[in-house]
């Protein structure tokens, strides 16, 4: 029982970290039809800048805020100068966002060197909770709480606000949204910044979770996030949340029981979903919420 609960908590917390990356990716794809491979670069910048700010200030909250700000600034630069000129051209988008990913990952080494950096847990999140012999690491509970709160906030944004209504309509028919007087380019920028901020936040939260950050981690997590987005259904926030939890939990159990298959598992899940329901678990056209 102890092992089961521990694996479950690990899986859910990992899943919610992946969700932070996947949420932006799925919204950006749904609204803008952009497969943004550079998203992993924003994640790794969030991880490094968060770790650096934490080390310099010893304030974890400041580190998170700083990482999100860095992610959003980089996201704005990416959207404005790299992605906006290639809207509607998928081949060019693919090349330019892959290039963006490489530049973002490699430029990490200019600022922080080529070696991985160790990251400590904030003092107030060290330790664990114990119930009847079951030990749950405090930081994982923190990640779960933050992940769930962010999911709720995103859901409320999309389903209860006017800008959320515009985004959902934009996912369905961008042209018609423009014909209603709505500036779709402004909406694109908003969604891109939101996605970039979430990716950076995911990176900042992951840093103390894994204890070490390295420049190549962006690609590793971006691939996981892409798998989640496809499994959940491209453009569906709920689908991404569900798929993140499935991938996170299944990964945690597989890594414990059959570690050799843990990497293959995600691909297997992806293949099953694509064969059974090619639009993804919750991926109906336009189901942004």
């Amino acid at each position: 029982m102890e092992v089961f609960i521990n694996l479950l908590v690990n899986g859910v917390s990992t899943g919610l970290l992946i969700f932070l990356l996947a949420a932006g990716l799925t919204l950006i794809f749904g609204l803008m039809s952009v497969l943004n491979f550079a998203h992993g670069g924003l994640f790794v910048w969030g991880a490094f800048s968060g770790a650096w700010i934490f080390k310099e200030t010893n304030s974890f909250l400041l580190a998170i805020a700083g990482a999100v700000a860095v992610g959003m600034v980089l996201g704005w630069v990416l959207e404005r100068f790299l992605i906006r000129p290639v809207y509607g051209n998928h081949v060019r988008q693919l090349l330019i966002t892959l290039g963006g990913m490489l530049v973002l990952s490699e430029s990490i080494k200019v600022f922080w060197g080529p070696n991985p950096i160790r990251v400590n847990l904030p003092a107030w999140l060290e330790g664990s909770y114990q119930f009847d012999g079951i030990i749950i690491i405090k930081y994982r509970v923190f990640v779960i709480v933050v992940g769930l709160l962010l999911y709720l906030a995103l859901w409320l944004l999309l389903s209860r606000t006017q800008i959320g209504l515009m985004i959902r309509a934009g996912v369905l028919d961008k042209e018609m949204v423009q014909a209603l007087g709505i500036n779709v380019k402004g909406l694109f920028t908003f969604v891109f910044l939101l996605g970039a901020g979430l990716a950076a936040l995911g990176g900042a939260l992951l840093a103390p979770y894994s204890g070490v950050v390295f420049a190549e981690m962006g690609m590793q997590y971006a691939i996981l996030a892409f798998i989640v987005v496809i499994i959940g259904g491209m453009g569906s926030l709920q689908g991404s949340a569900l798929a993140s939890l499935i991938v996170g939990v299944a990964g945690a159990f597989m890594a414990y029981y059959i570690p050799d298959l843990s990497l293959a598992l995600n691909m297997l899940l992806l293949a099953i979903v694509l064969l059974v329901k090619p639009t993804g678990l919750l991926g109906e056209k336009g189901s942004a919420v």
Partner: protein, 234 residues
């Protein structure tokens, strides 16, 4: 007074030269009908007015202001409502959400406009919380028209509203469009001559990207030769 004026529009779609010097005007308070065969350039004319397919030459003036060359969302905010040929329904949004979205950037008395549309199309009120994608074809068309009117009631551009609808639904829809003429100006693209000739005041006929004929609708009804030549009506 001309509310909308198109002057010598030339529009290309890729390598195809679709609009070849289209000039026309729409008088305030009128229903002007744009006729023509499939592929004549009617839809492209509306899309050029809305800025989706910008013209390479010529101009569009609305209320004597040049609107060609500005982004679609700013054209819409001048009070131009658009009903595309495929209705452009947001299938996953409810009727309520769709009409609220139409109010977002609307000018004028949006609540009054909303109330009037619900009075004109009671089905929308009945299916207020229903997903738009689950409505019938006629209801979707009503929703598309109501959305366009709430968004911009200065001029409505309506592209083939009768397409795919039953004769009874077409009749109902035409009655509603006729009522809407009391409060707005309409540029209607249609192939259904019998229906459009009953509600239109003025007409233009397009062929191969050019305006080949125009005049009062009453005169067209009596001009068998033109009807036969361009519209295939005996």
């Amino acid at each position: 007074m001309s509310l909308l004026k198109l002057d010598n529009l030339e529009t290309y779609l890729g390598q195809y030269h679709i609009l070849q010097g289209v000039s026309m005007s729409v008088e305030e308070g009128s229903i002007t009908v744009l006729f023509g065969r499939n592929g004549a350039g009617k839809t492209t004319t509306l899309r050029t007015i809305m800025g989706f397919n910008p013209s390479t030459m010529g101009s569009v003036h609305y209320h004597d202001q040049k609107i060609s060359g500005i982004p679609t969302h700013l054209i819409s905010r001048k009070g131009i409502g658009y009903v595309p040929e495929n209705q452009g329904i947001f299938s996953a949004l409810t009727v309520e959400e769709t009409l609220n979205l139409a109010k977002a950037k609307s000018t004028g008395e949006t609540e009054e406009k909303m109330e009037w549309m619900l009075e004109l199309f009671p089905d929308l009120k009945k299916f207020w919380s229903k997903k738009s994608g689950l409505l019938s074809g006629g209801q979707k068309q009503m929703l598309a028209i109501a959305r366009a009117y709430i968004n911009g009631d200065g001029l409505l551009l309506i592209d083939e509203p009768s397409k795919g609808l039953s004769p009874i639904m077409v009749e109902k829809l035409m009655e509603s469009i006729l009522k809407m003429q009391e409060k707005t100006t309409i540029l209607l693209v249609e192939q259904n001559f019998l229906m459009a000739s009953e509600i239109g005041d003025y007409f233009y006929i397009m062929d191969d990207g050019k305006i080949v004929h125009d005049g009062w609708m009453q005169d067209l009804k009596e001009d068998k030769e033109t009807c036969q030549k361009y519209l295939g009506i005996a």
